[in-house]
Amino acid sequence: MNTVAFAIIAIFTLTFALAAATNPRLMHAALSFAAMFVGIAGFFFLLGAEFVGLVQIFVYVGAVAVLIVFTILLTRRETQPHHGFKWGGVIVAGAVFAGLLWAIIKTSAVSIAAPLVKALTVKQIGEVLMTQYVWPLLCVGVLLTAALIGALVLVMEDRSER
């Protein structure tokens, strides 16, 4: 994995992240959010975790982004518009970033190159997932089911109001 690819992906990702965070037009922000996730998936590919990258695209671009755009669509008719920007947030975020950056630079332990390893196959992941992490897997399944039902219940409009 070479620096060029890294640089390209990093610029791509961060640009779209910034766009998602600051673009006043909701839909564009949401779409660039999706694009950002493609970038992150690219990072994962770069780091030799194809599976996770694919899952990332699958879940975020395929599902979450669609959810978000749908939500934007359903909540379009605003009573009062709210543009404008809170600069307090910018300050806090900047401060946190500065702190983190300083900490990362300061710790020399993390400036290491990647060891050469053989690629992680889906088969390995599946085996581990089915043996060692089977309980967490089940728990996540239950959680997702609960989330599904909860979301349905939340948005279920009772016909009486119409």
Binding site: N2, M27, H28, L31, A34, E50, F51, L54, V55, I57, F58, V61, G62, A63, A65, V66, V69, F70, L73, A119, T121, V122, K123
Partner: protein, 397 residues
């Protein structure tokens, strides 16, 4: 199996093309070049196929309706697509005033891109997989799921009621049928134990009793999963009878209403490419990929077999389109969630049964029994004689 010269001819061609570069340029550049080569070939083949398909569909539909199809341009009207292409290209490209320009522009590109990407992982012949990814199937679906976003962009971008409705319908049906699509693939993946298309194809190379091919479509769960997969594929590529999103009579042309000229052509192409991709995956998954149906036919090159199977499936697509009327939205949704999904899960279970009863005749019987039972129970529960739920336009309000 003898690897004939014809079988590997394309591989050798590519190697010959790359041989001057080999050694002179760094490895990554070579890699990039070879993948570019792959992409070029892929595009060439499938765009040609698209052109051919578009005219053949019209001709076949014409025959089905007792009329000649296009037969004026070129021999048998085979140059019709060229004419269409030129027409599309020189048409004015209209962008609505109130449209969201960027999104409106990006949508067709994204649609086409996803469709082409999905084609990348399908093994077209022995050693003829353009991009070998370990999680190829997952890649396919990951890319495929991006289409929804693109369609939505199209609908939103062209700031138009019909486009929005069409996009909504398209996304709704795509999401609903993506589950059966994916879960119908799971049994194969489980049995083979890999998400790698090449492995899946190789797993189907054996023959029962020396002549009966070891394709997954010949097992009870495989057959059921194949049918489910095919129906879901119809929906995913918005083909009749599931072309609700662009039902002319209801909403002008769905999310493509505001598109004209080349962008429209792109959408059109993307639809066909998606169709190719789904059919290709079906061939890979269930129909034994590029393996010949009988061992003694192995002398015919593998890619020929692949494309033969592919064209059979494509013909079925056209046939269905020529035969069936359009289905109602709510009925389609009911069908997805109440029938397709449970059946898909049943396929998973029955493949598990098959696996654990050791692939023998008994296994055949048991896995068939599981499917049959569930099918009967389902059809008892939602008997179609009772009317479906009163039609409600959840997405039109």
């Amino acid at each position: 199996m003898s690897v004939g010269a014809f079988d590997q001819i394309f591989i050798h061609l590519k190697q010959w093309l790359l041989s001057p570069l080999a050694g002179r340029v760094p490895g990554w550049l070579l890699q990039i070049v070879s993948s570019l080569l792959n992409i070029a070939v892929l595009l060439g083949v499938f765009l040609t196929l698209f052109a051919l398909m578009s005219v053949l569909e019209r001709k076949i539909l014409g025959r089905m309706q007792n009329r000649y199809g296009p037969n004026r341009v070129g021999p048998f009207g085979l140059f019709q697509p060229v004419a269409d292409g030129i027409k599309m290209l020189i048409k004015e490209d209209i962008v609505p005033v109130s449209a969201d320009k960027v999104v409106h522009f990006l949508a067709p590109i994204l649609v086409a891109a996803t469709a082409i990407l999905a084609l990348g992982i399908i093994p077209y012949g022995r050693n003829m997989t353009p991009f070998v990814i370990d999680g190829g199937i997952l890649f396919f679906f990951a890319v495929g799921s991006t289409t929804e976003l693109a369609v939505f962009m199209a609908g939103w971008g062209s700031n138009n009621k019909f486009s929005m409705l069409g996009a909504m319908r398209a996304i709704a049906q795509m999401i609903s049928y993506e589950l059966p699509l994916i879960i119908a693939v799971l049994p194969v993946v489980m049995i083979v134990g890999s998400l790698n298309p090449d492995r899946i194809v190789l797993a189907q190379k054996y023959y029962y009793f020396g002549f009966l091919p070891h394709w997954f479509v010949l097992t009870p769960w495989g057959a059921t999963a194949f049918i489910l997969f095919f129906v879901s594929g119809l929906v995913e590529s918005n083909r009749t009878p599931f072309d609700v999103p662009e039902g002319e009579s209801e909403i002008v042309a769905g999310h493509m209403t505001e598109y004209s000229g080349f962008k429209y052509a792109t959408f059109f192409m993307a639809e066909y490419l998606g169709m190719f991709a789904v059919s290709g995956l079906a061939v890979t998954m269930f129909l034994g990929g590029w393996h010949p149906p009988f061992p003694f036919l192995a002398f015919i090159p593998s890619y020929v077999w692949f494309f033969a199977k592919l064209s059979v499936l494509l013909f079925t697509f056209i046939w269905v389109r020529g035969t069936l009327p359009r289905i109602r939205v709510d009925q389609m949704m009911n069908f997805a969630w109440k029938f397709m999904l449970p059946m898909a899960f049943t396929c998973v279970i029955s493949s598990a049964v098959w696996y654990y009863t050791g692939h023998r005749l008994l296994a055949w019987f048991w896995s068939f029994a599981v499917i049959a039972v569930v099918y009967i129970v389902l059809s008892l529960f939602l008997d179609t004689r009772r009317k479906f739920t009163p039609r409600t336009y959840r997405f039109a309000e």
